[in-house]
Amino acid sequence: MEVLKQRVTMLTNQEVLSFLNAVKKEEDNKLHGDRCKMLSTVVYETKKYLNSSPAATQNEAVICELIPKLAPYKLTGAETLQVVNMRPANTTDIQLLIEETEERFPSEEELEKLVTTVSECLPPPPKR
């Protein structure tokens, strides 16, 4: 086996979760002998983790709605991905995900506006 390109793209947790849901459905429809044990295990465990993360309540539409709204804040690709995956709900959370927050967001209000944008677009995560 050969690795042609290590990272074609990054995936949001929501994309992975919805793909795994489809894989699970496909596997369930197969005969017992046709199923792959290793695959079932990793799909089950990954789904278990993602189902308790903010990804569980998201869908493609809400993420597509959020991305253009983040444009004025000039976040990097990795930061945008983190924002979607973690759904920061306060300024402490978002400072963690954005590098050099103080320089890029000199006013606290701007940062709070960003938090509000994210909280409005993405639904609250499932309760633990």
Binding site: M1, L11, M38, Y49, N85
Partner: protein
């Protein structure tokens, strides 16, 4: 956390599988080979995303050929496996450096904390990367963060015991090529992929530490909404 990687491989398809959907057969073979396994310097493979290009297929001479040299092609086809060369994309777990991830504490020792995200359990936060000042309690083998309070009260002990959900920042991913003939003991300590993390920064550590009061209110409101919803349903 997850990336798509482009890989290339060859798979042989057994004669009895030639009649079924080739894409399905190939996907199954690949998942058997790679799902839930670590590829060195890449990451932990989750599952095949799609097959982008099926290259040339060829049939290797085998059983059928040696018995009769002049085998008609059709017969050969029945006896031999078909080998396909193709490219496919794989969902791979490979966090980037500086990525913040939520995980559950599953182990605690003087060396540090071991964290789990269900499908991957080799995440380690060394003691020196725990929030400062940190204290190890011999009794119970747990770590706590000695949080100084503003109003002159004795510092609060914020525990990081197993079962707690914490946030850590990825600092390093270490791959190790393991020999296949490891003893049981070596298998337990040696890891083909290990993530090192830190919790020494504002916002990291147990998730309960940083939630503000506003959010609690929001949570309470949600609960009330739910209760109202239930009442309406009744």
């Amino acid at each position: 956390m997850f990336i798509l990687s482009l890989l290339r491989d060859t798979v042989s398809i057994k004669p009895h599988q030639l009649s079924s959907d080739q894409q399905m057969v190939i996907k199954k073979r690949l998942n058997e080979r790679l799902a839930n396994k670590v590829v060195p310097d890449l990451g932990l493979c989750i599952c095949v995303y799609d097959i982008s290009e099926i290259g040339d297929s060829f049939i290797l001479p085998g059983e059928g050929d040696c018995r009769a040299r002049v085998t008609v092609f059709r017969k050969m086809y029945c006896f031999n496996s078909k080998v396909s060369d193709f490219q496919f994309r794989m969902i791979v777990f490979r966090p980037f450096v500086d990525e913040v991830i939520e995980a559950k504490v599953i182990g605690s020792s003087r060396q540090g904390l071991t964290l789990s995200i269900e499908f991957f359990e080799d995440i380690f936060v060394p003691a020196e990367k725990l929030p400062e000042p940190h204290v190890f309690e011999e009794d119970g083998q747990v770590w706590y963060w000695e949080y100084a309070q503003e109003d002159g009260d004795p510092p609060a002990k914020l525990y990081m015991d197993p079962g707690k959900i914490v946030r850590y920042r990825t600092t390093e991913i270490i791959f190790k090529d393991l020999k296949p003939d490891l003893s049981m003991e070596e298998q337990k300590t040696e890891k083909s992929m290990e993530i090192k993390g830190t919790m020494a920064s504002t916002g990291l550590g147990c998730i309960g530490w940083w939630t503000s009061e506003e959010e609690d209110e929001e949570a309470v409101e949600d609960e009330q909404d739910e209760q109202e919803g239930v009442a309406e349903a009744v």
